[in-house]
Homo-oligomer: 457 residues x 2
């Protein structure tokens, strides 16, 4: 292909945007293991899932054979308000690093939710509305997912109840206020509005809540109120399906300029961004039509890929959700309190876990002070103040570019910049004040929570 | 021209971006009146201005004859990191309003500073670096300008001292933290670091500061320290010049699709955004080659166009800056304390004042509760959480679209969406809680401050 001048930002035309999501599972020989009902010990059926999730989303969750699933027009209309997201050539960063590497990042932060979460939120809200539901419930910790879902529900006139971990509710009043502006009702969790909330408050009067507890409250409200379902922003197969729009756009933009990446880097918590970003590239790798290095970056304080084990485990700390076969630190593992930002999940998407297990991906863990160092460097050079989560990928992209500087290799590096850090300034303040610390779990910590894994087969 | 399908977002190609700023003054028959030195009563000379401002910026400030000024490559490189900004067709808003009007907005919020201020900040930082300066000083109130300038100075390795009005410094710690992340030193004003600050603190020990005082401190530091100059983010001719990039891109995007706007709407505080947005359209209007309705929207609590007088006045409440001939409420006018967001300036750009005086523009004032009502409606439909300032323009754009619904006219409405409201959530919270109020100054209030205008000629 003829070489074209590559602009700072590659924007696809609207007509070049993907009109289907890509279901990577269809091209996997070793399919991800099914979710298991902890009560029966058997794979969950559509019937068992449909009181909790919307019907169409249940179908997407279980479908591991259809490679492309058409994006409904109503979702495409919404996507067009904030997508395509730019694929940015980091010319200024390359110059500053004096690296021969070519660095690109797919920037998902140009929307009010501030992250890629909106890609799945709008899809889940659409299917809920299509099913004639009144509303949905969810939990949120840091608030990215809650914000995205509040935007999506407001667009489709759906009621939304968000259970926000109490400590975040109090410490992040602005996140809460964005959700309220979009019409969501935001309840600090644990709350007196649910049976499980009342029980927890009675047992632990001063608790500031946890994601596990917020999930339990959201599921209770969804299953007890006719016309409601529960929705989740990461880990699930359906979420990775919706997020494939990130990777499809990235690949289309690269193809347009005849660029083939050598390394693709993404941060990984539950896997929603990484799974979406790499989907079409991994598809080619699975089919043997192309090869790429694919690198998952996780926090050293919550290293499920690099120090976890591949086994069935509960998806939530409350142990009320299904069992999934994944890389996990054990559902009782809690990252150190000094851990800033997201990527705190003890497990990992079953799709990514299977691929990592089969050797199709690498993983690396990084400490948060070095992550914030990269974040600040990136902000000062490329202008964008990145989310702490996204900055894990920045750290490794810079490290790879610096390796190229040593070796002289002109590698093409692509990484996912999942979002902005406008609501994470407490963490930036800690870093600016020099009081941010790192904590790496000991082998004993991890062994202790892994020892509590449920027994399956 | 053949009609093309208009996408949700029109992005210019990099090659279609303007490479010169447009100096509207060159095409004005009645030039804006010159700045006057309050000491001598005579027009300010380049010599008098150069201890305060960079040389090249002084030249731009005084140049009212050169129509196009080339944008230096270094600035173009930075522009390409966050520009072109999208011109968005508000299809979803049109549908919700059921209006035959076609609504477009030029969205300047897709950068970390969150507003159009970056367009001038990067230019001013560039000229400071080119002159070999060590750094610059400025003041900031709400923090948009300070944030933009901190990004610009970090890019050009310039030192930056920001005097931030103390009440904002304390109430907006996150804005402060963004500036620190970009390496700026942020000082609450009044401070013990300047003579004027010490004097004010001695006289008013409990003061929470004011913009006027912060300006005085910034100017003092700039003039007393070799290698420093003072920079300002609005009102000045040079700022409107740099902001013309907004209007030039808007016009290029519209021309590309053969669209001719009927009405162009922008919010107006000091005039930086409005002056930039309308520049090329006003240029055509002045030459008689096209006609447009051009509407300035100002807050009812600070209505300089609609209720001020056209006269020479101080640009700052501290009365240390030059005199400018402009629409003004009097430099002693202070908007009611319940006023949220920016657009609090008592005066208006001399360029826009002259044009308004000569009948080339309309102006309208709106109350803040109706502004936040429009902001919320816009956020829920178009996804973007707008800045309170920008929402003044949204209010009037929606009103115009609703008029079209009544009359059946298919007008094309273009408005400037200057930025995002991510750091304005205290104001949104007041609105969400139903405790936001409106205050309109009485005729007596305005007459009292206008009575204190300086005597010139």
């Amino acid at each position: 292909m003829q070489e074209k001048k590559i602009p700072y930002k590659i924007y696809l035309e609207e007509s070049e945007m993907p009109d289907s999501w890509y279901n990577l599972r269809a091209d996997m020989k070793n399919k991800p293991a099914p979710l298991i009902n902890p009560g029966t010990g058997k794979p969950l059926t559509a019937e068992e899932l449909s009181p909790i999730f919307c019907e169409e989303l249940v179908a997407q969750e279980l479908d591991d054979t259809t490679p492309f699933i058409k994006i409904p027009d109503e979702i495409l209309s919404f996507y067009r308000m904030y997508r395509p997201s730019p694929l940015v050539r980091a010319y200024c960063l390359e110059k500053k690093l004096q690296t021969p590497a070519k660095i690109y990042y797919k920037f998902e932060g140009n929307n009010t939710s501030g992250s890629h979460k909106l890609n799945s939120a709008i899809a889940q809200a659409y299917y809920a509305q299509k099913q004639g539901l009144k509303g949905v419930t969810t939990e949120t910790g840091a608030g990215q997912w809650g914000t995205a879902l509040s935007m999506a529900c407001s667009y489709f006139d759906l009621d939304l109840k968000v259970f926000m971990v109490k400590v975040s509710y109090e410490q992040k009043p602005f996140r809460r206020e964005v959700m309220r502006t979009y019409g969501a009702s935001v309840v600090p969790s644990p709350s007196e509005t649910t049976e499980i909330g009342k029980k927890i408050l009675a047992e632990h009067p001063g608790t500031t809540g946890s994601l596990g507890c917020a999930i339990s409250e959201a599921v209770e409200v969804a299953t007890k109120n006719p016309g409601y379902r529960y929705v989740l922003g990461s880990v699930l197969n359906q979420v990775l399906l919706h997020q494939s729009v990130i990777g499809l756009e990235t690949k289309a933009a690269l193809d347009k300029y005849g660029i083939k990446p050598d390394v693709i880097i993404g941060c990984a918590g539950g896997g929603s961004n990484l799974g979406g970003l790499i989907a079409p590239f991994m598809g080619e790798k699975l089919k043997g039509t192309a090869d790429y290095r694919i690198v998952a970056v996780e926090p050293a304080s919550c290293p499920s890929f690099t120090r976890g084990t591949f086994a069935y485990d509960f998806c939530d700390t409350g142990m009320i959700c299904p069992l999934a076969k994944m890389y996990t630190l054990g559902s009782s593992f809690i990252p150190s309190a000094n851990h800033a930002g997201g990527l705190r999940f003890h497990g990992m998407s079953t799709i990514l876990s299977q691929l990592y297990h089969d050797g199709y991906m690498e993983a690396v863990s990084v400490e948060q002070t070095s992550v914030f160092e990269a974040a600040e460097q990136f902000a000062r050079i490329e202008g964008i103040l990145p989310a702490p989560e996204s900055s894990h990928a920045i750290r490794v992209a810079i490290d790879e570019a610096l390796k190229c500087k040593e070796t002289g290799e002109e590698k093409t590096i692509v990484f996912g910049l999942t979002g902005t850090g406008y609501f994470d300034l407490v963490a930036y303040e800690q870093y600016n004040d020099g009081v941010m610390t790192d904590t790496i779990p000991t082998d004993e910590d991890i062994a202790a929570s892994i020892a509590k894994l449920p027994k399956v087969e």
